[in-house]
Symmetry: C2
Subunit: 219 residues, 2 copies
DNA sequence: TTTTACCAAGTTGTCGACAATCTAGTCTTA
DNA sequence: TAAGACTAGATTGTCGACAACTTGGTAAAA
């Protein structure tokens, strides 16, 4: 029992999958480019079987598209694809907020409030911090708070990496900092009041706004 | 160009994946049971690589769960899992209905009306037909009508097989036939009026009702 | 008796080689 | 010249074998 602290074994495929996912999300591997199994196999010094397994998993995250006997390509980003993605996010995270209002413990809600406070301080001091880590962290906690395992997996393992890919590669970090912060506060307060209807509605609006904000920049 | 009509090659892995998925959804392979690679490999007379690829894809449909160095098991069905699944369905299909109200062509809406009519006739004649094929067909068309490719893939390739697995294995086909039919009619009429808000709301209610109907039978 | 260490059988993970398929370029033919 | 068939090269799909790991049971030690 040497790795009992890990609780789950990490295979070579796992590591390669994570490396590739990172490279794609961060744009090190360009959107739309081809993923050659042989090439990647030499680059990461693993067998083609490992690469294939990693690519399969990337495909199930919708980060690459595979055609039989032809190969895999990184998905190409498009304004339309971004809109599609945010429609899904609006729907699923809205539901997550609704369920969070029902299922989060008082403790978790308290921690969420503390998170907002600490972010408020950082915004005062540094001015710009919020958008990146703060926003992700906030949404992440609400997603976990919904207590629906399948929904959590759908968002965390799947959609969020795609969202992040769009954010990184289309360079999104504009203003909207304080606005988004206020929206976050209202969402938490709805959750605290156990108002499921309102929590869902506010979360959907919040995501819609940030979609519009992004879409405007693209055009 | 012999298979130009197929438009996409079908590999051995594809076929095995589809066979396995069918076997799992229909309960031929019991929920919760282990999937031995060696065993399946001899049963379907393909190599272990093919089986592994098929199992990977089943995992990304959430039909099986895999642990490194241990193996894959078919997901086990639980009342809680069903509720979770229907919460996701409610959220995503609600959005699909909203988008369908915006994006379906008049032609598609006309065909949808014809579908309902033909079902109405069958219900009159045979009484019970509706639940199975009819319901699936109806939801399927609205999903396709939303024109959001990522949403379509999420529902058709992923969630719907899980829904069907629950339906088949927990034996759902009770009454609710005529009730569901009326709900369908109202949804179509909202889509026809291009009332996005109402279409989404009605679809969500429709799925909530059928969830409650099922959940009651389970307890 | 209980705990721990160890071993053996079986399962999954990884590898390199071969087979099947696609693609681009060349050549033939109308 | 343009359309189609063919070939060569490269890429992906499939296979069987070996390595690494897990698991259940046995035996030794407290």
């Amino acid at each position: 029992m040497f790795n009992s602290q890990l609780e789950q074994a990490i295979t070579s495929s796992d590591k390669t999958f994570i490396k590739l996912r990172y490279a794609i999300v961060e744009g090190e591997i360009a959107a739309g480019s081809k993923l050659s199994e042989a090439e990647l196999s030499t680059k990461y010094t693993v067998s083609r079987a490992v690469i294939r397994e990693a690519i399969n998993r990337l495909e199930s995250c919708h980060l690459v598209e595979r055609k039989a006997n032809v190969g895999a390509r990184v998905v190409s980003l498009s304004p339309n694809g971004l809109v599609e993605l945010y429609q899904i996010r609006e729907s699923l995270e809205g539901m997550a907020a609704r369920l969070a209002a029902k299922n989060m413990t008082s403790n978790e809600i308290e921690e969420l409030n503390q998170l907002l406070e600490s972010h408020a301080n950082k915004v005062e001091q540094e001015g710009s911090y919020y958008q990146e880590a703060g926003d992700v962290d906030f949404h992440y906690r609400i997603i976990l708070g919904c207590k629906n395992k399948q929904l959590i997996s759908l968002l965390v393992d799947g959609i969020y990496h795609l969202v992040r890919m769009y954010r990184v590669q289309l360079g999104m970090s504009g203003p909207r900092i304080t606005t988004a912060f206020d929206e976050h506060k209202h969402i938490v307060s709805a959750i605290q009041n156990r108002d499921e209807e309102l929590a869902e509605m506010l979360m959907r609006r919040h995501i819609m706004y940030s979609k519009n904000n992004i879409a405007n920049k693209l055009v």
